[in-house]
Symmetry: C2
Subunit: 279 residues, 2 copies
């Protein structure tokens, strides 16, 4: 099967490696507005050839859109205008607005909305790695709006990696990702700024940063080109979660001010329940 | 050399493994108020024998205190009362109050205050691992208040691992650890509570938690028995940093409300500078 991947970055590039290695794809075509990215992808053998979007659409059985989510909104209707029997899937982090722009499209059935829950804080084709998706979860959204053969193909793709598949409606997806992904990034960005502003004149103190610090701020390395479009599209949900997170921090603040260490202790015990969720 | 380790948990136990393996210690004595911990430590061969504190002091060249920091405050003066030429060091996360309780002690010189900047979110002797400290930084506080031979011995110990050594006064230490360690824990506790409270009726959604989420909340598994005494002793510094962190989050909130994505973008770019600090 020939697969085109539009946007050869961390996610698109890692998917290219995976699907070529496991034999799901015979031939991978890369499309990117950035020719340097395409050159890197060819050199790293992530893709077999590069071409423009319209040419790629003609040559492919499956088209994977893995651009930032703002680009996706504009690109998807244009792509669907041109498909015949090909299948189109996206791998973006937000879904409600994307579903909206193609809801009435005559070729809506050829599109499958997905979100593999995997990533790192790095971006670009140089960040692509094998095994990024292995044994993680992927979401397929609004399955009922896609043609059955399209769903079947996309499920086969994810099962070939292998990934587990969860089926969600777009609204639930966007709420849940605000909780299990987007807020973590805002928290890391804020933590990085907190420390950078305070410690700007004392370089050596960062030598003392423990692995715990590294773990909580590593997402602050993430690209604004990827994340601003996500926050823009999922603004309302992110605001809800952010409000709640600020309230939790304010509760800890108030307990410290009152020196109520007993309640603080109980809240830590409560938060320890995250153990049952994180392996 | 015979070394007693008082408090055989993650840190004490890992130190025991390391110093036995690299030959710095010939014989390691474990002391713990919890006999189950001692039994585990013997079974895991973290220690060669266990005994009570007073007996351990008599038999040892070096005594390492690795209890929670509230216990340390009470224990250190008692330990110094009994030492002759032995060296005593601690490995606790806070320093100002500890320095205070022994400032006028006639045996103050035999004590060296240290803080190896390493750990995991787990605790107890079962969490002890080799290589926890390798090539990390350790802090030695108020070196001028310790006898030169005591400092020399403790430096040799850390160099044997090997760890790099930073020298700081206790006040600076407590400010800096609030920034590079303590606030990360509060942020994780709060993030865990935020998500747990919202998602309590939807178990499966945690299947979707990405690795980014896991990274930012993993510290929320940390033990309140260790952390409440730290927050209690370092309350004022932690409050300062927490205020600043809440302000940073409130800034992001306000930008989302105003849909000022341009400024938001610049702040993410600013926070990306953490790349130069984190490897």
């Amino acid at each position: 099967m020939t697969i085109s991947i539009v946007g050869i970055g961390l996610i698109g590039g890692s998917l290219a490696i995976t699907l070529k290695e496991n034999g799901f794809a015979d031939h991978i075509i890369g499309v990117d507005i950035n020719q340097t990215n395409l050159d890197k992808a060819i050199r790293r053998r992530l893709i077999d050839e590069d071409t423009d979007l319209d040419d790629a659409l003609k040559k492919s059985d499956l088209i994977v859109l893995s651009t930032p989510v703002d680009v996706m909104l504009k690109m998807l209707p244009h792509v669907l205008d041109q498909v015949d029997q090909q299948v189109v899937m996206d791998v973006g982090s937000t879904k409600v607005q994307l579903m909206e722009v193609v809801r009435e499209h005559p070729k809506r059935g050829r599109f499958v909305a997905t979100h593999p829950m995997a990533g790192t804080e790095y971006s670009g084709p140089e960040a692509a790695i094998p095994n990024l998706f292995d044994h993680k979860y992927t979401v397929i959204c609004n399955e009922g709006e896609s043609d059955q053969d399209a769903i079947h193909l996309v499920r086969q793709l994810y099962e070939s990696i292998p990934m587990s598949i969860a089926s969600l409606d777009a609204l639930s997806h966007d709420v849940h990702t605000a909780y299990v992904s987007h807020i973590s990034h805002i928290s890391s960005f804020a933590l990085a700024l907190t420390v950078l502003e305070k410690e700007h004149d004392e370089d050596r103190i960062f030598e003392l940063a423990s692995s715990g610090f590294g773990s909580t701020v590593r997402l602050a390395k993430s690209s604004p080109d990827m994340w601003i479009p996500i926050f823009r599209q999922n603004r309302d949900n992110v605001l809800d979660v952010l409000d709640e997170h600020i309230n939790q921090l304010a509760r800890f603040r108030s307990l410290l001010i009152k020196k109520d260490y007993e309640t603080f202790y109980k809240l830590i015990q409560e938060s320890n329940k995250i153990r049952k969720i994180l392996s």
